[in-house]
């Protein structure tokens, strides 16, 4: 079968649609009057709320840690100050990602060419993965914030050894996950284990599409 014959099949289909397809005008009028929010506009309040909570958290914890550092340095441990400080820094980075997502939501225009719009939409969705990477980086902090110099002085070596091992393992795991959580590893068992579940399906699909668009532009 040659190209002309194939195009003729499509023409026949088009003709048949023209003759038999009916537009339900009543329903169309109902649809355009629906006050349903589009997905993007419905995403905005969640992002704004998360940014607000994040800013509040960074401000409150940051103020407490800052004041402890400045005025009560001797009564708190360096471990706590450092752990809390890094946690605030990581939360701030996550906030920047959320701000970037808000910026992308503002930029999306469904009337623009496919490549441009889909790139923005898929970047928006796949940037969610960055938040996970940042969250995993916080792992070792949960094994250090309660430590103190006196623990080391009292000399419970067994406890220090266990805690130290857990901290090293968590640090290794956090850095390893930060480096390896990326699209290329989507088929690995550990990746699927972390990102299984319905809420991650759109993110995975967005990443696949993002990859597809990149290849599509290249060819």
């Amino acid at each position: 079968m040659n190209q002309t014959e194939i195009l003729n099949i499509w023409k026949a289909y088009d003709k048949k649609l023209d003759e038999t397809l009916l537009l339900n005008k009543v329903l169309t009028t109902e649809v355009i009057k629906l006050k349903t929010k589009s997905l993007l506009s419905s995403m905005k309040p969640i992002k704004v709320f998360t940014i607000f909570i994040g800013l509040f958290w960074v401000f409150v914890v940051g103020t407490i840690v800052g004041n402890l550092f400045l005025y009560a340095y001797s009564s708190v441990t360096l471990f706590f100050l450092l752990s809390a400080g890094i946690q605030i820094l990581l939360t701030s980075i996550a906030l920047v990602i959320y701000l970037y997502q808000l910026h992308l939501i503002q930029q999306v225009d469904i009337t623009e060419p496919l490549v441009k719009t889909q790139k923005r939409l898929t970047s928006l969705k796949s940037s969610t993965l960055w938040v996970s990477r940042i969250l995993f980086l916080q792992l070792p902090l949960w094994t250090t914030f309660y430590l103190s110099e006196s623990m080391f002085r009292s000399g419970n070596m067994f406890y220090i050894l266990i805690n130290g091992t857990v901290t090293i393992l968590f640090t290794f795991l956090a850095v390893w996950l930060f480096i390896n959580i990326r699209f290329e590893n989507r088929d690995k068992k550990w990746f699927k284990l972390i990102f299984e579940g319905k809420e991650w399906t759109p993110v995975m699909k967005a990443m696949e599409l993002n990859h597809q668009i990149e290849n599509f532009e290249k060819e």
């Binding site: 079968m1 026949a12 023209d18 329903l27 109902e30 355009i32 469904i110 490549v115």
Partner: protein, 168 residues
């Protein structure tokens, strides 16, 4: 004429595009019905800003394809629509083609269904016999890139049909 009536007139003249796009991107009948509603809603939202520089069909293709490609992200919105509206925007007064055409059309649609999202868009526009310039405008790649990709798709399509023909 009220904007609503103008909009419905534009849809009436281009209803085939909505059906063809929805049919290419959605296998499930219920999903397809919801996708058409979503496309219509997005078209209406953009109707005020329609740029007369482009043909209505170009504008509709851009929005319809953008919505269809992004549709997987809208599972919860879809449910909302289905609860509200049970009918379908597009209906048939009659169905069925000639038997041979029907079989060939099914094969062609199967081929389209197997393509990736972006290739699917390209294939639809090629079958619609859009110019390379219009395809480039809708997809957002250069005209020469469109030409290269169309040639590739043509070859695969011809091979596919020849293989199937040889099997029978």
């Amino acid at each position: 004429m009220k904007p609503e009536d103008q909009f419905i007139q534009v849809l009436e003249n281009n209803k085939g595009i909505l059906y063809k796009v929805a049919n290419a991107y959605c296998k499930d009948t219920e999903d397809r019905k919801d996708l058409v509603q979503e496309i219509v809603y997005q078209l209406w939202k953009s109707f005020d800003n329609y740029n007369a520089h482009y043909k209505h069909s170009t504008w509709i293709y851009r929005i319809a394809l953008n919505v269809a490609i992004s549709f997987y992200r809208k599972a919860h919105v879809r449910k909302g629509y289905t609860d509200t509206l049970t009918e379908s925007i597009l209906e048939f007064s009659d169905t069925g083609f000639g038997e041979e055409t029907e079989q060939q059309l099914i094969l062609l649609q199967q081929f389209i269904a197997e393509l990736k999202e972006m290739d699917k868009a390209l294939m639809l526009l090629y079958l619609e016999e859009k110019s390379h310039k219009e395809i480039a405008d809708i997809i957002g790649i250069s005209e020469s890139n469109v030409g290269t990709k169309i040639n590739r798709i043509k070859t695969v399509l011809t091979q596919k049909f020849s293989t199937i023909k040889n099997q029978f």
